[in-house]
Amino acid sequence: METLDPSLVDWSRAQFALTAIYHWLFVPLTLGLGVIVSVMETYYYKTGDEEWKRIAKFWMKLFGINFAVGIATGIILEFEFGTNWSNYSWFVGDIFGAPLAIEGIMAFFLESTFIAVMFFGWNKVSKKFHLAATWLTVIGATISALWILVANAWMQFPDGMHFNPDTVRNEMASFWAVLFSPVAMSKFTHTVTSSWIVGSAFVITISAWFLLKKRELQLAKRSIKIAAVFGLLGTLLAAYTGDSSAYQVAQKQPMKLAAMEGLYQGQNKAGLIAVGLLNPSKKSYDDGVNPFVFNIKVPGLLSLMANRNINSFVPGVNDLIDGGYPKVSKSGEPGIALSAEQKMEKGTLAVLALKDYKLARKAGNDSLAKVNQAKLEENFPYFGYGYIKDKKELVPNVPLTFYTFHVMVIIGMYFILFFILIWWMNNKNTLHSQKWVLWLSLLGLPLAYICSECGWIVAEVGRQPWVIQDIMPANMAVSQISAGSVQTTFILFAVLFTVLLISELSIMIKQIRKGPEGLN
């Protein structure tokens, strides 16, 4: 058996997390602010009011800064796939490659073609063409996000593929199953609508700053008018799509749901934790320590969310490890859940079948190869369990998943009230005189970012140890390289990202202070 430096897996994961978190500072703002700018320009197109043009141009400039600094930060993730995660990259084959290629060819070119018209085209193309270019840039960016999220969703719920033991790759059996997987759809809608919150919070925070400074009053009020409504719409839709996402997690990744709720012992009519403090003394799922210092639950809501049935059973961490509870299979047949040990046995059978298949092929024994291929296919849904040494590895970091999930939900709920308050005060024309609300609004952008990044931490930490759910754990996906080289590039990235972020912030702040061109 090959031995891996455990710090290699940790550093590779840390580096990927750092890059993804940094990349995610730019993407939601592009998706959210882009729609707001397009709506503002639509107002200009419809009314012919030059003030709307000036407003749209101001926010478009900030959109451009974010776009320019954020561009290509996602490419680094692809570098990491090829160097640090080469087993994974090979193993996923065209399942992962196809959506990324489509993203690069179709959406990126749509985005980059029309963004030129968006910035260079004022007074050079017709108003209608310019408006179309602005909308197409945003639509292109959103379609880009779709393909990336489809690829990510496949890792959470691998479907529509067939494993080829000769090429050691997963081959796409159904493009439509990959694209329209329920996990992909809920992930896409939830991610995009939550990005609208970031865009709206950005506009409201900067507009509130203008109101506090008693500058650009008309720009600020009109911007808040759009952003508050759009933000409220985004928050309500994010709550709705978040519920669909949670349902998919319950069905496809029940361990993640258990970690999100700190649920160790499964329950019928399980309650959803509204607020809670985890017990720091709990070190392992089977140590018998009470998982909570205190919590407040909404009775039955977790069962309703997980199974659409308020009286249903929701398995906890212990149930998922021990198995034995009634469970409906993927094909809809009732059955009994397997224990972690049973899954690990099946995983080992699958890996050994791959080994024997390769030996049989080498020896030219086709009939033996067929027998082993059938054994591999039968046990392939548990392939990754063949790499799990201890069943405790199957439990993700519960405190991190639990707290990030609840921070996300609490901030999300707060935003519903916040956007209603801002919209109402702005409509009554009292917002500019309510200093406390304006100061509160300055917190909007950091809170929106915390909420958005927490969502990704829940999605990614909650599915550990899996890189591909049930099929490939992180320790099987990494390349056999030195942990030192990953540490070096981690530090390089940390420096590069910090410098880029400082440059973005300084340019952005300078432009905000300047305000829209021509007023002062």
């Binding site: 058996m1 090959e2 891996l4 400039k61 451009g64 800064i65 320019a68 600094v69 561009i71 290509a72 490419i75 680094i76 570098f79 990491e80 090829g82 160097t83 640090n84 080469s86 087993n87 990259s89 090979w90 193993f91 030129a116 910035f119 260079f120 085209g121 050079k124 033991p165 000769d166 090429t167 050691v168 790759r169 690990m344 080992t348 890996v351 050994l352 791959l354 080994k355 390769k358 063949g386 790499y387 799990i388 040494k389 320790n475 099987m476 390349s479 056999q480 390289i481 080289s485 070096t488 590039t489 390089l492 590069l496 880029l500 440059s503 340019i507 432009q511």
Partner: protein, 74 residues
């Protein structure tokens, strides 16, 4: 056709020439792309399989052996 190409060229030429803030942003983009593709990609992020193996069959064989060797219960 040539007229259309000329007007597209002029559109971009004038657009780039009239940029103010855009020049700084383009500088950031170019420096960033240089660091990413020339420094990071070449010196720090070689294609692990591509630099070790020439054929697809060799890569498949290597990954296949890795999957078998890393099994915890051989």
């Amino acid at each position: 056709m040539i007229k259309a190409l000329k007007s597209v060229f002029r559109f971009y030429y004038e657009g780039f020439r009239e940029m103010k803030l855009g020049k700084t942003l383009w500088l950031i983009i170019l420096v960033k792309l240089f660091i990413m593709f020339i420094v990071l990609k070449i010196f720090f992020f070689p294609d692990f399989l591509g630099t070790r193996f020439k054929t697809e069959a060799e890569k498949a064989d290597f990954v296949g052996n890795q999957l078998i060797d890393r099994n915890t219960n051989p």
